[in-house]
């Protein structure tokens, strides 16, 4: 029995050569007890692995961890046995990432010294500094440190085993077997070479001894593992896995408490705000049917505990309203009477026929969806308000994972295989990617290129392999995550390319998968145009109008007539 405790997915950008989903599926297929997705100073890939295990009911435990390189000769993997350890890991990753520019990290010795709950798998460099690091781990990771031993068939395995055993004996660190897997199947070694070449901007032929010499860093069948490692080292991996009980489902999102004034609960304050809104929105008195729907919506919000979410958006739009920034709520949950009363939207629900089920569905088990568009020229004011109100520790943008698409994959793989850029550029220009009947592979043949040629075959296969591989994290256009406590205890935060912006390591799908709520603060140029139009009308005709004022007038036949005549030049959107 075995658990792979040091395994990097392709979220160790341009290093790991398998998707997290592929790793957990293969590990489950091979009969591993557990697998730890330990990307380098990152937990960006763990949610996908977690979702895959849950979706397919895989009989394998996922351990959250991360590997770090400190100085050239210290490599250590930290695993999370519980939620406290997870918060600790997120803090360390955040600190290391925030010290460095985007895409890099700088771990300090102090970070490791501050670790109190994580388990450490130390991967010795087998050089003269090992004893010094062993003393370090003995002092700061007493009884929480193991030595990870790998048989990588580099010629020195026996010497390394002997050195590891000697360190183990002297410092009482148990030994544990690990393959330090970078891919789920040996065939992915080619992909790993290509990724390595892309990372170092060279070609696979020029990697030389820096490239992986063989395919040993893959997930291996248990029968093979028993031949490679002593049984005790394999069993130790299972013992460590049994200590790791943390599950990502335990993560609970806590909304900032300052949203609710003293003397109110979230529910009562939301009701208070809605009631205040009702008096504004329904001056003639609220119709019975509308009142019923409001009660139904409030009950559903209460049962799903989404009060804070609505209050957060309410707070943001109140700020925008005060500043005279035009905004418009949209999304399924935005088409609710509660949102209308909270002034998140301006569309009178009496004029549109919205299905209540679109609002929030218990069955769908998804968080509510409200996107708020702001004038694009003034959105930054809203963002700065959020940062000022909740602080940078508690606010960050969701990440957006940039992946290899066909063109970038084709170009980068081609370069890694040593093909001239001009030739790759020419081929790319010839492809008709809209042609659904003829794939690009066949189009390559039509260009007169021998598809059976070695390099072309490799180009096709490897391009197909790396399409969809993540390249780096960038910032999402407007998905904000705001939390009650420091955000870095929930998910690591890192620097974005844009100055003074930070992003979390998960994208919006990951947040949705874990049921974490985000607030969409989007920019819409048309709102700026509308505001400028309002100003011009006010200047010229001394008439103040607003979006709710227009909405209240209902449909305008003249508009429909214009659309029927296709007189829509300059119209941005028709719904």
């Amino acid at each position: 029995m075995f658990a792979e405790l040091v395994c990097q997915s392709n979220f160790s950008f341009l290093e790991g050569a398998s998707h997290p989903e592929e790793l957990v599926n293969t590990a489950a297929f091979l009969g591993y007890e557990a697998i730890s997705i330990c990307d380098e100073c990152s937990v960006a890939g763990v949610v996908r692995a977690h979702v895959e295990i849950k979706a397919n009911g895989l009989p394998i435990k996922l351990i959250v961890g991360s590997v770090f390189q400190l100085a050239p000769d210290l490599r250590v993997c930290l695993l999370c046995p519980d939620k406290t350890a997870y918060a600790e890991l997120c803090r360390i990753i955040t600190n290391a990432r925030r010290r460095s520019e985007k895409g890099h990290y700088a771990l300090s010795e102090w970070d490791l010294k501050s670790v109190k709950s994580c388990l450490a798998i130390w991967l010795p460099a087998y050089n003269d500094n090992d004893r010094q690091w062993a003393e370090f781990f003995a002092k700061f990771f007493s009884e929480r440190c193991w030595i990870g031993v790998s048989r990588l068939l580099n010629g020195n395995d026996n010497a390394h085993f002997a050195a590891a055993m000697s360190l183990s004996e002297e410092f009482c660190f148990p030994l544990v077997a690990t393959n330090q897997a970078l891919f789920h199947h040996p065939d992915r070694q080619h992909t790993q070479h290509v990724l390595h070449a892309i990372r170092t901007r060279s070609t696979v032929a020029d990697l030389g001894r820096d490239g992986l010499p063989n395919q040993e860093r893959s997930l291996k069948p248990l029968t093979k593992l028993t031949r490679l490692y002593p049984k005790a080292w394999l069993s130790e991996s299972v013992s460590i896995a049994s200590l790791c009980q943390f599950n990502l489902d335990e993560l609970k999102y806590q909304y900032p408490s300052e949203l609710v004034p003293d003397g109110y609960t979230a529910t009562s304050y939301l009701r208070h705000c809605v009631e205040t809104g009702i008096t504004k929105r329904f001056k003639q008195g609220v119709p019975e049917a509308i009142r019923e729907t409001i009660e139904k919506e409030l009950a559903l919000i209460h049962s799903e505990q989404f009060e804070y979410f609505f209050l957060t958006i309410y707070d943001i739009v109140q700020f925008a309203k005060k500043q005279g920034i035009l905004y418009q709520g949209r999304g399924s949950a935005a088409n609710s009477i509660v949102c209308y009363c909270l002034e998140i939207t301006a569309v009178d629900p009496r004029q549109i026929n919205v299905l209540f089920e679109r609002f929030i569905s218990k069955e769908r088990n998804e968080p509510p969806d409200i996107d708020v568009d702001f004038e694009h020229e003034r959105r930054e004011e809203v963002i700065q308000y959020i940062y000022a109100k909740y602080g940078r520790e508690r606010t960050a943008l969701a990440a957006s994972v940039s992946t290899f698409r066909f063109k970038s994959a084709f170009r980068e793989v081609g370069k890694a295989l040593g093909l001239p850029e001009s030739l790759l550029g020419y081929w790319l220009k010839q492809f008709n990617l809209r042609d659904r009947t003829l794939g690009w592979q066949s189009q390559l043949q039509e260009l007169g290129i021998d598809q059976d040629g070695r390099t072309v075959k490799q180009l096709i296969n490897l391009t197909e392999d790396i399409i969809g591989f993540p390249r780096h994290l960038s910032q999402h256009v407007g998905d904000f995550v705001i939390s009650a406590g420091p955000l870095y205890e929930l998910v690591p935060v890192e620097n974005a390319a844009m100055a003074e912006r930070s992003v979390i390591q998960w994208d919006k799908d990951d947040l949705e998968s874990l049921g974490l709520l985000k607030v969409d603060v989007l920019a819409l140029g048309m709102l700026t145009a509308i505001r400028k139009t309002f100003s011009l009308i006010s200047e010229r005709y001394q008439q103040d109008i607003s979006i709710p004022f227009i909405s209240a007038h209902g449909n305008d036949k003249q508009v429909f007539n214009a659309i029927c005549k296709a007189d829509t030049v300059g119209v941005f959107q028709i719904e």
Binding site: L153, N154, G155, N156, N158, Q189, H190, H193, V204, A205, D206, G208, R209, D210, G211, L212, P213, N214, Q215, E216, L417, G418, R454, T455, Q458
Partner: protein
């Protein structure tokens, strides 16, 4: 702005005199388009030769006059050399035509604490190059140019003062086309003072926009656009030979002139090169190109001269050479370590010098070196390489490397005991030589340490021996 204009009236002749100090007789440069004298030496002037004279008249006055044909290429190359030299003392430089350089004095007055200091340095620099020049200054390049061409040789502290001198300059000193000058002369306008005094509106009715723009520049109202000179990131010099040279070794003394400039250029910038490119213009054949390579980048004149002489000994000319160009574009930071007197470095330097000599004599195709390639596959670790090819730095060897590696691995036939390994090499999928082998160190009964491998068919081979 305040501009200094340096006018070089006899640039080609100055170069000729540098190359042939022994020729003291009258020398003239003849413009081939109309066979008239455009540059002449002091001796020629004394003999009674004047600029603009025809070739027949010159030979009639002094039959022994040395005649040189004017070459715009040659002058441009010379001018660029001068601009490059002046660039070390002034920043804003504009090359004008083929014989003038304008320098923006405005930032220099403060930097040199007075224009007199800068002018003294400028004169010293140009005198060291043995070139004749006149200068003038003004608010625009055009004013300074007219004053320089009128041999005013003054730099005023205030550019506006230059206008006083400008008034007395003749129209011939300006850049006005001959036709327009003659037109103006006919109506009695002979000096710039007279011309400038005329209302521009009136002039505009009779002359085109170009003339108006030029006059505005002469009045100091508007400076026409100019492009600043930036020294090239390479050294290139063209040299017109005084006579056609028939044998390659005789080119040496002419190459020495451009080589000296090249080495001075490199030394000033702490640069070095290991490749010099020469292009020889042959009178009856295509240009002949050749390279001279050194074993290591350096900038030492004597060593380059020796290598070039070696190369010239081997070089066969198809027909006499009339001019040559030296280009040096592979520049690297000079590493003084190469010339350290410490034993190890010194022997490396000697080795590099020997390599340079071999390259010069035998050519780069005939001199190879053995290099260790950064490669997992043992069959390709050691390769022959061109000496000039810079191999990528090898990462530290991963496993053991035998001292003797066999070109063709031999089947293992004797009983051995494994003492090290396995080191699995399973790579090379990208070319036609994929390898899947497990390497071991094995000990024979005789105590021989073998570098053996097992292939994927479980066959064993000996690939090398340890010392």
């Amino acid at each position: 702005m305040h501009w200094l204009y340096l006018h070089f009236p006899r640039l080609q002749l100055d170069l000729f005199e540098q190359l042939h100090p022994e020729q003291t007789g009258p020398k003239v440069v003849i413009d081939g388009s109309d066979n008239t004298v455009c540059q002449l030496s002091a001796a020629a002037l004394t003999a009674g030769i004047k600029p603009g004279m025809g070739l027949a008249e010159v030979t009639a006055i002094h039959a022994q006059t040395c005649i040189i044909e004017y070459s715009a290429n040659n002058e441009n190359s010379q001018l660029e050399q001068l601009a490059t030299i002046l660039y070390t003392i002034a920043s804003d430089i504009v090359c004008v035509a083929s014989n003038g350089i304008a320098i923006n004095l405005s930032p220099l007055a403060l930097y040199y604490q007075g224009l007199n200091n800068f002018m003294a340095l400028c004169k010293r620099t140009l005198t060291a190059r043995h070139v004749h020049f006149y200068f003038g200054s003004g608010a625009t390049i055009e004013i300074a140019r007219v004053l320089a061409c009128s041999h005013v040789n003054r730099v005023e502290d205030e550019p506006s003062l230059a206008l006083n001198y400008l008034k007395n300059c003749s129209l011939q000193a300006t850049e006005l086309p001959t036709k327009e000058t003659e037109q103006l002369n006919r109506i009695g306008i002979r000096t710039l003072g007279q011309l400038i005094a005329l209302p521009l509106d009136e002039i505009g009715k009779r002359f085109n926009n170009q003339i108006i723009t030029y006059l505005l520049a002469l009045k100091g109202v508007k400076q026409p656009p100019y492009s600043l000179f930036h020294p090239r990131k390479l050294f290139s010099q063209y040299l017109e030979l005084p006579y056609a040279v028939e044998s390659a070794p005789r080119l040496s003394r002419f190459i020495a002139v451009v080589l000296a400039n090249n080495c001075a250029y490199l030394q000033k910038r702490n640069l070095a090169t290991d490749t010099l490119q020469f292009e020889l213009q042959q009178r009856e054949h295509d240009n002949l190109m050749f390279k001279v390579n050194a074993g290591t980048p350096h900038h030492h004149l004597s060593e380059w001269q020796m290598l070039i002489d070696l190369k010239l000994e081997q070089l066969k000319l198809d027909s006499p050479v009339t001019s040559l160009t030296l280009t040096c574009d592979q520049l690297v930071e000079f590493d003084p370590e190469n010339l350290s007197l410490l034993q190890s470095s010194y022997s490396r330097h000697a080795e590099n010098m020997l390599l340079g000599k071999l390259l010069a004599r035998l050519g780069s195709d005939s001199v190879k070196t053995v290099e260790q390639v950064n490669e997992h596959r043992q069959d390709y670790v050691v390769q022959q390489a061109c000496t000039l090819h810079k191999a990528p730095a090898c990462s530290e060897a991963n496993g053991l490397q035998p001292a003797w590696l066999m070109v063709q691995p031999q089947p293992l036939t004797e009983q051995t005991q494994i003492v090290y390994g396995p080191e699995r090499v399973h790579t090379g999928w990208w070319d036609d030589h994929p390898v899947k082998r497990d390497y071991f160190v094995a000990l024979t009964g005789n105590g021989l340490r073998l570098w053996v491998y097992r292939d994927d068919q479980q066959h064993w081979y000996v690939h090398g021996y340890f010392g």
